[in-house]
């Protein structure tokens, strides 16, 4: 399978936490990349470039969502009885998914780029247009937040 297709989709899914949106934006990212090909410089990594496009599209979509809340909540991953739910492989994964949904975008984005796309701090900084130091801090805090959310979830679960 095309490695870029999966990578871009994974990025979008991680950022947006919504499958339909992720598909749309993956599609848009490729079209946008194609349309802007004349701006692409060969000495840059192609992956960085298309990830940047995807990341920007996702950020814009999230802003839009915030400013235009819909009556019908979008189908989120995990939770609820929505048929578009992803069935977690195990209970722990489901908790991670729920927690990810709750994470603010600013923390979730670098986390996804690091642990799904396996990018370096420098590349993440390039894609999100933030300094490398900030990337490290955010990831550190994001992991802590995630841990906190998961453990809180466990406690709630256990106390029923």
């Amino acid at each position: 399978m095309s490695r870029y297709k999966d990578a871009v989709y994974g990025l979008c899914l991680g950022f947006l936490r919504n499958r339909a949106d992720a598909e749309d934006l993956t599609h848009d990212a490729f079209i946008r990349a194609y349309d802007n090909l004349r701006r692409y410089h060969l000495d840059k990594r192609f992956s960085t470039w298309i990830f940047t496009i995807a990341a920007n599209l996702c950020r814009n979509r999230l802003r839009y969502r915030r400013n235009h809340p819909v009556v019908e909540p979008p189908t989120h991953l995990a939770g609820g009885t929505d048929p578009a739910n992803i069935i977690a492989k195990e209970d722990r994964q489901k908790r991670v998914q729920d927690s990810l949904n709750s994470l603010p975008y600013a923390y979730r984005a670098p986390l996804v780029l690091r642990f799904y796309n396996d990018l370096s701090y420098r590349e993440i900084g390039e894609i999100l247009a933030i300094p490398e130091g900030t990337v490290k801090t955010r990831i550190h805090r994001a992991k802590a937040m995630l841990k906190g959310l998961i453990e809180k979830d466990v406690m709630q679960h256990e106390t029923g």
């Binding site: 490695r3 599609h27 490729f30 090909l37 998914q97």
Partner: protein, 193 residues
């Protein structure tokens, strides 16, 4: 939960989510390819005169500019190459280096072959024996810069053993032996266009 445990579970979760979407992604890829295909200029051998894509420019800077402007099929080519990978033979790779002369120009060959392991160019300038392209930063864009004296050169790419004859940066396409190959004119001052 230990910090590194978090990382592991996070990775697994994210990968699992994407893996779940695999069948839908195949459709997505088709949609993208179809839409990009609509945007492709129609290049058919019968319309050979209208198929003259771009004039050549000398010098590497000029080449890159031409590339940006006319190689708008990069992604579609990359995806088409990735999609259609059945069969194909492995040609014996040999390197036939071209020696630069004082009239020769560096001509840039670029191939977007996002999942390929080996990309080479064959043509008049190397007696149709493979000259490898390289992808130093492993981003799927393969390049080679070959010194060519002014003239007309027919060539094609071999991507993981498969013949790929329609270089978007070509000046012309030729179809012989049932397959396409590309042509570039390397100017020597009088471009004649």
């Amino acid at each position: 939960m230990r910090p590194d445990e978090i990382e592991e579970v996070l990775r697994d979760t994210l990968r699992h989510e994407v893996a779940e979407a695999t069948p839908r992604l195949a459709d997505l890829e088709e949609r993208i390819v179809a839409e990009l295909g609509d945007r492709l200029p129609r290049l058919r051998f019968v319309d050979w005169m209208r198929s003259l894509v771009a004039s050549t420019q000398s010098g590497r800077v000029g080449q890159l500019a031409v590339l940006g402007a006319t190689a708008a099929v990069f992604l579609i080519v990359g995806m088409v190459i990735t999609q259609d990978r059945s069969g194909g033979s492995i040609l014996t790779p040999t390197f036939a280096p071209t020696v630069a002369s004082h009239t020769s120009q560096e001509v840039l060959f670029v191939v977007p072959a996002l999942d390929a392991e080996r990309v080479a160019v064959v043509g008049d300038f190397n007696a149709w024996e493979e000259t490898p392209l390289s992808d130093e930063n492993e981003d799927g864009i393969w390049t080679a810069s070959i010194p060519l004296d002014p003239g007309r050169y027919e060539y094609a790419f071999v991507i993981d053993g498969r013949w790929w004859g329609q270089d978007p940066s070509a000046d012309e396409y030729v179809r012989t032996f049932g397959q396409y190959s590309s042509v570039r004119y390397v100017g020597g001052g009088g471009d004649g266009v």
